[in-house]
Assembly symmetry: C2
Homo-oligomer: 100 residues x 2
Amino acid sequence: MAKRDSKARLDAYEIIFTALAHPARRRVLLTIHFNGGSMTAGEIAAVFAHAWQTTTRHLQVLEGAGLISHEKQGRMRVYRIERKRLELVKDWLAWFSRKP
Amino acid sequence: MAKRDSKARLDAYEIIFTALAHPARRRVLLTIHFNGGSMTAGEIAAVFAHAWQTTTRHLQVLEGAGLISHEKQGRMRVYRIERKRLELVKDWLAWFSRKP
DNA sequence: GACACATTCAGCCGCGCGGCTGAATAATCA
DNA sequence: TGATTATTCAGCCGCGCGGCTGAATGTGTC
């Protein structure tokens, strides 16, 4: 059980760090955050020079990592940032404060 | 000047997050840390199943990101972790604590 | 100097990431 | 219903990452 949790956590680190590795995805997170924490897919896509479809995939990667979530609202989807999930990065960094 | 600094910082985020994206490289950092902060290349390579050369490249990526540094000591190279550099990740995360 | 050891350099190769385009789905409006 | 808007799904493709092997470099030991 504890073992499985630890495994799950390792996997979480993996997808989270991978998600954060791409500059466009980091910008997406910052963009949503500075827009008050939520934005529609269209608004997000409009910020970037890429084709929307490209941004869509980035959104999916971020959502797969649990860093954002979405909710249908009429015909648009509103993406919301999941700040708690970012805490995991802090948790990982905390290892380096812990004396060995 | 301030502009250039901000640009430099953006680039730093880029290479740091890219460096941290690979699980092997994160493990390298943790391994060095829990070994007291420094290890020889051979000791590090021995931890991994990969060919040494593969680990060498990971070390170079980490060094390029400023997350580790090395120092020649006789015929071996000792790698040392640069904890300060990891702070930049915290700095980036701090944006999300800042209310927009 | 000759040899062994520690590590890196150079270069090959497969696979997945991230860009694109074109079609599909879902909801709203006339 | 049919047209329009918002968004995603499906699939193509080029390029770089990350694995490998083989050779080179540098430094102690005899």
